[in-house]
């Protein structure tokens, strides 16, 4: 094998320009693979981060109550379980659920909440609100609101309210101002705007308000339970599996962030599939290049191969010479391609827009370097099998006479 490697190396070095071009072609294909992979992964990471940064990864709430038919073979008439669908949907035993969540190493933050709808009324102006009542100490547990305050502070106190910048603009509110708060339970109360935040998302900045649970309970007529429990995980990717676990463990309705964003998930999937196709085509073009170059080489060296055959050099040796050429081209090309791909992605990651965000959401570390190196090397070996077989099967006499 060592001598076959020597012959393969000599063959490659005998025409340095052609070998360099061949390796450059492989490296270019691998660079394209790395770039596409890093870009798609980076885009997925950014989209996922954008979606999950200001919301929970898993939500727990009470199942919707529905009347259901009771089974019973001895009963001729259909019986209906009398389940009140008029009761509030709330998690009454939220304490044990929170305790269960605290014991899970996957969980990074827990926020029991009371969510409801309300209106802010100022004079003739009325603005609808989606209200989130939380423990003041866990204000930033799910969404980092404090860092997004542009006015006032985050001290919710007994009558404090945090509203978005757009809502404040619409109603002409500023920190310290009282405003009439009217819940969908028909309770009115004057609250004080303590702080104003800007997330950059219009939906949040125009529609969402925060207050403390203690303040919210009488306003939403919910003296003990919670409407929902929001959970953040260390790894958002685990959300779907963790939601399934919680569903079994608690009997609650548990929704992962992926289930809440099926459109995004579908887009990410389509994007990944497109990326995979591009990767496959770039690899195929690399392999075709290697196979055709080695076939040409085998054809050009018919005389030499014929003389080797005449001397009784085994077909296996002749095949090995060409397979090893493929291996060397694949390894060197893939190695260079991985390095240039990493360099290109790292450089692109440094390019930023005026606001400091990346021009291309590229993740240089996600280039799947080992995978592409292994695939290219293996593919190069497979691509060299056809020319290797044709060289090994060459009839020595025919080759010498030509």
């Amino acid at each position: 094998m060592m001598f076959a490697l020597t012959v393969a190396r000599r063959y490659l070095l005998s025409n340095p320009a052609q070998t360099a071009l061949l390796i450059a072609g492989v490296a270019l294909g691998v660079t394209a693979f790395v770039f596409i992979t890093a870009l798609i992964e980076g885009l997925a990471i950014r989209l996922t981060a954008d979606v999950t940064a200001n919301s929970s990864h898993v939500s727990l709430e009470q199942e919707v109550r529905v009347a259901r038919v009771l089974p019973g073979p001895a009963v001729n008439v259909q019986s209906v379980a009398l389940v009140s669908t008029f009761q509030r949907r709330q998690i009454r035993a939220w304490g044990p659920t929170v305790a269960l969540l605290r014991s899970q190493p996957l969980v990074s933050a827990i926020s029991p909440q009371i969510s409801g709808n309300a209106f802010l009324v100022k004079g003739e102006a009325v603005a609808p609100l989606a209200v989130t009542a939380i423990e003041p100490s866990a204000l930033d547990a799910i969404s980092p609101i404090t860092t997004k305050l542009i006015g006032g502070d985050a001290d919710l106190g007994a009558d404090g309210l945090l509203i978005g910048a757009q809502l404040a603009d619409n109603l002409g509110l500023s920190p310290g101002q009282p405003v009439l708060f009217r819940t969908d339970r028909g309770v009115d109360r004057l609250l004080t705007v303590r702080g104003i935040f800007r997330t950059g998302l219009l939906n949040l900045d125009e529609r969402v308000a925060f207050l403390s649970i203690r303040t919210a309970r009488p306003l939403f007529r919910l003296p003990e339970g919670m409407t929902n429990i929001e959970v953040k995980l260390h790894d958002p990717g685990q959300a779907r599996a963790f939601a399934a676990f919680l569903r079994d463990a608690t009997g609650l309705r548990v929704t992962s962030w992926q289930e809440r964003n099926t459109t995004l998930e579908g887009a990410l999937f389509a994007q990944a599939q497109t990326g995979t196709l591009i990767q496959i085509f770039s690899l195929i073009s690399v392999l075709i290049g290697i196979a055709s170059a080695l076939s040409l080489s085998a054809n050009r060296r018919r005389g030499e191969i014929g003389i080797m055959g005449a001397f009784g050099v085994s077909r296996r040796f002749i095949a090995a010479v060409f397979v090893l050429q493929g291996l060397l081209i694949g390894m060197v090309g893939a190695g260079i391609g991985c390095l240039t791909g990493f360099a290109l992605c790292s450089w692109l990651a440094t390019l930023t827009k005026a606001d400091g965000s990346m021009i291309l959401p590229i993740a240089a570390s996600q280039g799947r370097y080992l995978t592409v190196f292994a695939l290219t090397t293996l593919g190069a070996v497979l691509a060299s099998v056809i020319p290797a077989r044709s060289a090994a099967r060459l009839d020595p006499l025919e080759a010498i006479q030509q």
């Binding site: 001598f3 020597t6 014929g306 005449a310 050099v313 085994s314």
Partner: protein
């Protein structure tokens, strides 16, 4: 002297569509150890085909071949290749040296490839053979930098690398000028005389055949022994 080659009833026919062409019709060839024989014949007479059959590069339609005491006509392809490597040497009209290797590496190639590596002993033997064929000063030259005559000398050294029982040469001087051709033939005669190497040289050149101790004429698919002037004189 022992018999190195004993080919009996060699027949070879090719089918071209419906037409069957019989190139060789039961040829018998026997060579003693240390002989230098010429295989003569006009173009298309079948002499190259006979040489290829003896060299195990072509399977005969009929007949048997024994080389160095071993029956070889029924060997598998792998065994034929192994036999060629270990017991036969080849010199072709076009030397077919490996252009990316030095003269020494080209000579050592038939030994190094089956072994999987080129040992220092192989390298030394190759150098000795190059010295033997008068190329001591060209040992480390790339094959591409050698003249036509020098390349054919390297090819002779390469043919001798594995101590073959029989060396087959197909028009070995066909691509050389007269002076270079004479030198190559002198070298082959010298190796034949000093090393007792057995040569079968296929040629259409009467002047080359005349310098061989024995001539075998292939004509109309049959072989006939032709005495050389030297042999005729010896027989009185």
């Amino acid at each position: 002297m022992s018999i190195v080659l004993d080919a009996r009833g060699i027949g070879m026919s090719f089918r071209n569509g419906d037409e069957l062409t019989e190139v060789l019709k039961g040829v018998d060839v026997t060579l003693q150890s240390g002989e230098l024989a010429a295989l003569l014949g006009a173009s298309g007479s079948g002499k190259s085909t006979l040489l290829s059959i003896i060299g195990l590069l072509l399977r005969p339609t009929t007949g048997s071949i024994t080389i160095a005491g071993q029956r070889v006509d029924a060997l598998s392809e792998t065994d034929r290749a192994r036999f060629r490597n270990q017991r036969l040497g080849f010199i072709f009209q076009f030397h077919h040296l490996l252009p990316d290797f030095t003269a020494t590496e080209n000579v050592a190639f038939p030994a190094a490839a089956p072994a999987g590596r080129m040992t220092s002993a192989m390298r030394q033997r190759a150098r000795d053979l190059l010295d033997r064929v008068g190329l001591a000063d060209r040992m480390d030259f790339p094959a591409t930098r050698l003249s036509g005559g020098q390349k054919q000398r390297v090819a002779i050294a390469r043919a001798l690398m594995n101590n073959p029982a029989l060396i087959l040469a197909d028009e070995p001087t066909g691509s050389l000028d007269r002076l270079a051709a004479d030198k190559v033939l002198d070298l082959m005669k010298e190796v034949n005389r000093d090393d007792k190497a057995t040569f079968l040289i296929c040629t259409h050149d009467e002047s080359i055949a005349a310098r061989c101790a024995r001539r075998i004429m292939v004509k109309d698919g049959r072989a006939e022994q032709v005495r050389t002037q030297q042999q005729l004189e010896l027989r009185g």
